[in-house]
C-alpha cells in the first residue's frame, strides 16, 4: 500500500489551504482518512490513546445490521413472489436463488440511493463547514433502507434522506449533535409527507406493488389494527395466529419493511452490539421489558381481540425488535446516563405498544415512540443529573 500512501502524500499539497483544489479538501481528507488512519499525534494531555475511533464504532453497527439486511433481501423476494402469484401459500424456503434475485433488485437500489444522497448532502455540509465527512451516516445510510417498505419509490427515499440529514442532523451541527434519530426522521418524513403512499394500515409493510394484482399485501400490524375497526381482517385471534404463527413472526417470514421482520436477525445484531459494547444492553433489555409490561397491562384490561393478543406477540411482530436494537440504542439521541437509559428504554417500549394498540391511525408505534423518547431523553437525563447533584449536596450536610 506504499504506492497509495506516496500518491496521497503527493496530492496532499493541492488540497491544503492555499492549494489549487483547496475547497475540495473535505472530500480528499475523507478519502485519505478512510484509507489511512492519519498521522495525527497527541499534543496535549495523555500521550497515548485508545485504539478505538468513531469509524470502528460505526462500522461495527453496520456489521450488526448485515443479518437483518440479508434476511430482509430474501424476505422481500419471497413476498414479491407471493404478490405476483397472488397467493400466500408459496413455500418459504423454495426458489431461494430467484427470491434473492428479486429481493436484491428491490433492495439494492434503495440502499444505493440512501447512501449516495445522504453522503452527498454530508459532503456538501462538510465543504461548507470545512471538515471531513463524519462517520454517523455510515449507520444511518444503512438504517434508512431497512426501515422502508420494499416498493417505496426511489425518489421518495432520496427526498426523505435529504430531509433527515439536513433537518434531522446538520442544522444541529452534524454527527453527535442531533436531537432525534436520523433514520427515523427519514421514515417519519415519508410517513407524514406522503400519507397517500404510506397511509394507515400499509405503514411498515412490503406492498411490493401488490395491489395491482388485487392482492392485499397487508402486514400483521395492519391486520391487528383492523380488530379495532368495524371490519376486522380476521374473525378472531385464533385465525390471526394461524396466519402469523409465533415462529414465523420471530424468524421474520412475514411481510413488513425490509429489515424489520426478523426478530431473530435483530437479536443476532443485538448480540454483536452488546458483546462489543457499542449498543447499550440496558436500553435493549428495558425496551423489551417495557413492551412486555404494556402488552401485559393491555391483556389485563382485555375487551377486544387486539387487547387480548398475548404480550410476547408484540415483541416479534412489526418493527419492535428492530427499533429496540438499532434505533433506540443510538447513543447520541438516547439518554446518556446509565440510570436514564433504563427509564428511556422502559418508557420507549411502553409507549410503542400503547400507540400501536390504542391509536388506530398508527398501526406501528415503535417509530413514533422512539422519536418521542429521543425528545424526552434530555429530560430523563436532567432528573438523573439532578439526583446526582442532590446526593452530593446531602453529603455536605451529613459531613
Amino acid at each position: 500500500m506504499k504506492f497509495l500512501e506516496k500518491y496521497l502524500h503527493k496530492m496532499e499539497p493541492n488540497f491544503v489551504k492555499g492549494g489549487k483544489w483547496e475547497k475540495w479538501n473535505p472530500l480528499f481528507e475523507t478519502m485519505a482518512t478512510f484509507a489511512f488512519t492519519p498521522k495525527l499525534v497527541t499534543e496535549k494531555g495523555s500521550h497515548i490513546r485508545d485504539g478505538v475511533d468513531l469509524k470502528r464504532t460505526m462500522i461495527t453497527v453496520v456489521f450488526a445490521l448485515i443479518p437483518c439486511l440479508i434476511f430482509g433481501i430474501y424476505n422481500t423476494g419471497h413476498w414479491g413472489m407471493v404478490a405476483e402469484a397472488g397467493s400466500r401459500d408459496l413455500p418459504y424456503w423454495a426458489d431461494m436463488g430467484t427470491k434473492f434475485g428479486i429481493g436484491l433488485a428491490a433492495v439494492l437500489p434503495i440502499v444505493v440511493v440512501s447512501y449516495a444522497v445522504g453522503l452527498g448532502v454530508e459532503f456538501l455540509f462538510g465543504m461548507l463547514r470545512g471538515h471531513s465527512l463524519h462517520e454517523g451516516f455510515l449507520v444511518s445510510g444503512m438504517l434508512i433502507p431497512l426501515t422502508m417498505p420494499a416498493d417505496v419509490p426511489l425518489w421518495m427515499v432520496a427526498v426523505a434522506t435529504v430531509f433527515a440529514v439536513v433537518i434531522g442532523k446538520e442544522i444541529f451541527g452534524g454527527t453527535g449533535m442531533n436531537i432525534v434519530n436520523v433514520a427515523l426522521t427519514a421514515r417519519a418524513f415519508l410517513f407524514f409527507a406522503y400519507p397517500t403512499s404510506m397511509s394507515g394500515d400499509k405503514v411498515w409493510m412490503a406492498g411490493t406493488e401488490a395491489s395491482v394484482d388485487g392482492f392485499t399485501g397487508s402486514t400483521a400490524l395492519g391486520d391487528l389494527a383492523s380488530f379495532m375497526s368495524d371490519k376486522p381482517v380476521f374473525e378472531n385471534l385464533q385465525t390471526f395466529t394461524n396466519n402469523y404463527s409465533l415462529s414465523d413472526s420471530f424468524f421474520g417470514m412475514i411481510p413488513g419493511s425490509i429489515g424489520e421482520t426478523s426478530t431473530f436477525a435483530c437479536l443476532i445484531g443485538a448480540v454483536i452490539l452488546v458483546a462489543t459494547g457499542v449498543g447499550s444492553l440496558r436500553i435493549i433489555a428495558s425496551f423489551f421489558a417495557g413492551g412486555l409490561l404494556m402488552g401485559g397491562i393491555l391483556n389485563l384490561v382485555g375487551g377486544n381481540e387486539y387487547l387480548d393478543l398475548p404480550a410476547y406477540y408484540h415483541l416479534v411482530i412489526g418493527g419492535f425488535a428492530f427499533g429496540a436494537v438499532f434505533m433506540a440504542t443510538d447513543p447520541v439521541t438516547a439518554a446518556q446516563t446509565s440510570m436514564g437509559k433504563l427509564w428511556y428504554g422502559l418508557f420507549g417500549g411502553i409507549v410503542a405498544i400503547l400507540i400501536r394498540v390504542l391509536n388506530p391511525a398508527f398501526p406501528e408505534g415503535v417509530m413514533l415512540a422512539i422519536l418521542f423518547m429521543n425528545v424526552m431523553a434530555p429530560i430523563i437525563d436532567h432528573y438523573v443529573v439532578q439526583g446526582n447533584i442532590k446526593r452530593r449536596l446531602k453529603r455536605l450536610k451529613t459531613a
Binding site: K39, G45, H47, R49, D50, T57, M177
Partner: protein, 453 residues
C-alpha cells in the same frame, strides 16, 4: 478510623517497558532547569540573573502575586540562562552545576517543639512549599488557607509508574519526619493511602501521625483525587492538600539535615527505552544522564512523567519538578492503512477499553502503544465509556460538557471542586471522539479560580 475502599471502575493500561528494580548510581547532572510552567498559574518574579552563582537551596524566584512562595535551586553552580518565550514570559531557569553540591544553610527544624506556623514558615523559606499542592484547582497550595486534611498516596497506579515501595525503601525516618511535619499543618488528619492489593513496605505500613487507609482496584486507585473522593471528599469552600510520597521524603530529609537535597529515584520506562531501571537524580536534572544511548530509534517521544499525564520533552530536556518517571515511547506520526493497521484491521496490537478489538480477550498481554491518536477528533457520540474508567460519584460526561461550555453553575454542581486534570487522564485515553479532556478540565479550573475563588 482507617478506611478501606474497593473500586470497581478503572483501567490498567498494560504497557511494554517496565523498569527493572535496580538502581543506577547517582551522577551529578551538568545542569538543572526549573520551569515555572510546572507550577500552573504561577507568575515568577526573578531573584537571580544569568551569571549569578547559587548554592543548592538558594531561592531562584518567587511567586509574583504570592511572594511567600519561593522556588529554590536544586544544585550549586551558576545561573546559565533565564529562557523567555512570547511576551517575555519566563519558560525556564537553567542552572549549570559546579560539579560539587554546596548547600545553602537553611537550618534544621525540631518537630517536637515547632508549631504549625513555624513549620509553614520553614517550608516557605526553604523552597519546600511548592511540593504541597492544593485541591481544588490543582495548584501550589495557598499558605493562607488551612486544609481540612492532607493526602499522601503510598503508590502510583498509572502505567509503568515507579514502585514507591522500592523507591522509598529504607527512607523510613525521612518519610516519617515529613509526615509528622505535614500533620502539624492541618487541624484534620494526614491520610496515607496504601495499595490494598499487596502488602506495603514498612516505610508506609508503620507510618505514624497519619490515618492509614487502603484502596484497591485498577488505575486511578493510586491517584490522590480518587482517594480524596472516597475518604474525605471536598465540598465547595474546603481545601485539601496533597503531597507526592517521594516529596514527603525530601521535605523530611531537609528538616533532618538542613540541606535542600532533592535527590530522588526516577524510573526509566517505555517500550522504546533501553536499560530500563531506576536512576538516582535530582529534581529538574538534565535527562541526558539517564537517557543518552538508552533509547532505540530517532522517532520517539520522550516524556517526563507517565504516558497519561507527563510532559513532552526531548533528549536535551530536563526532568519536571513533580515527576518520578521518564517514559520513552514511539511516535505515531505515520499513516496506518485501514485494513492492515488502521480502523478496519483485526487489531491484535491495539489496546482498547472497548471490546471492539480482539485484545480484550487477552487481559495479560502487554502492548507497545505509540502517540498516534488513532482517529480524528469528533463530537461526543459514544456514551457510557467515560463512566467505566471514572471511579467517582460524579458524572464525567456531563461535567466535561459543562467545562467545555463554561457553565460555572453546572460545573460547581457536578463536582468540579473535587477533580484535577489527572483524574480525567483515563477518560481522555478511552474517549472515542479523541477530545483533549484534561486540557478542557484545566481551562475549566482556571475559570473557576478566576470567578469563584
Amino acid at each position: 478510623m482507617s478506611k478501606t475502599v474497593k473500586l470497581k471502575k478503572g483501567l490498567d493500561i498494560k504497557l511494554v517497558g517496565e523498569a527493572e528494580k535496580v538502581t543506577a548510581e547517582f551522577v551529578q547532572p551538568k545542569s538543572v532547569s526549573i520551569k515555572p510552567s510546572d507550577f500552573h498559574g504561577m507568575t515568577p518574579k526573578m531573584l537571580v540573573k544569568a551569571g549569578d552563582s547559587v548554592k543548592a537551596g538558594d531561592i531562584l524566584f518567587q511567586n509574583k502575586y504570592q511572594e511567600s512562595i519561593k522556588f529554590a535551586s536544586p544544585i550549586s553552580g551558576t545561573v546559565r540562562e533565564i529562557v523567555r518565550g512570547e511576551k517575555r514570559r519566563i519558560l525556564e531557569v537553567i542552572v549549570d552545576s559546579d560539579g560539587q553540591q554546596n548547600y545553602a544553610s537553611s537550618g534544621k527544624i525540631d518537630l517536637n517543639t515547632a508549631n504549625g506556623d513555624e513549620i509553614k514558615n520553614y517550608l516557605l523559606n526553604s523552597g519546600l512549599w511548592p511540593f504541597i499542592i492544593q485541591r481544588p484547582i490543582d495548584i501550589v497550595a495557598d499558605p493562607k488557607q488551612s486544609p481540612k486534611s492532607i493526602f499522601v498516596s503510598a503508590f502510583d497506579s498509572s502505567p509503568l509508574a515507579p514502585d514507591f515501595d522500592y523507591v522509598l525503601h529504607g527512607e523510613n525516618e525521612n518519610f516519617q519526619t515529613g509526615l509528622t511535619a505535614l500533620s502539624k499543618l492541618t487541624d484534620g488528619k494526614v491520610h496515607l493511602t496504601l495499595n490494598g492489593e499487596s502488602p506495603s513496605d514498612t516505610v508506609f505500613s508503620e507510618a505514624k501521625d497519619v490515618q492509614i487507609n487502603k484502596i484497591s482496584g485498577k488505575h486511578p486507585a493510586g491517584n490522590v483525587g480518587t482517594q480524596i473522593h472516597h475518604i474525605d471528599p471536598i465540598n465547595k469552600g474546603e481545601y485539601v492538600w496533597v503531597v507526592n510520597a517521594q516529596d514527603v521524603m525530601i521535605i523530611g530529609r531537609m528538616m533532618r539535615t538542613g540541606h535542600y537535597d532533592t535527590t530522588k529515584l526516577v524510573n526509566l520506562t517505555g517500550s522504546s527505552a533501553k536499560n530500563r531501571k531506576y536512576y538516582r537524580t535530582i529534581i529538574g536534572a538534565e535527562l541526558s544522564n539517564i537517557i543518552d544511548g538508552n533509547f532505540e530509534g530517532d522517532n520517539v517521544r520522550i516524556i517526563s512523567g507517565n504516558p497519561l499525564t507527563g510532559n513532552h520533552t526531548n533528549a536535551t530536556g530536563h526532568l519536571g519538578f513533580y515527576h518520578n518517571q521518564v517514559t520513552i515511547i514511539p511516535e505515531g506520526n505515520e499513516y496506518k492503512f485501514f485494513l492492515t493497521k488502521g480502523w478496519l484491521a483485526p487489531g491484535f496490537d491495539k489496546f482498547s477499553n472497548s471490546r471492539l478489538f480482539p485484545t480484550f480477550l487477552m487481559p495479560n498481554k502487554k502492548f507497545v502503544l505509540d502517540t498516534n491518536t488513532n482517529g480524528e477528533e469528533r463530537g461526543f457520540v459514544v456514551t457510557g465509556e467515560l463512566e467505566r474508567v471514572f471511579p467517582f460519584d460524579i458524572l464525567p460526561m456531563q461535567l466535561v460538557k459543562a467545562a467545555i461550555t463554561d457553565d460555572i453553575d453546572g460545573m460547581e454542581n457536578l463536582g468540579i471542586y473535587e477533580v484535577a486534570p489527572e483524574d480525567f487522564a483515563l477518560c481522555e485515553y478511552v474517549c472515542t471522539s479523541k477530545i483533549n479532556i484534561q486540557d478542557k478540565i484545566r481551562q475549566a479550573l482556571d475559570l473557576i479560580q478566576e470567578e469563584c475563588m
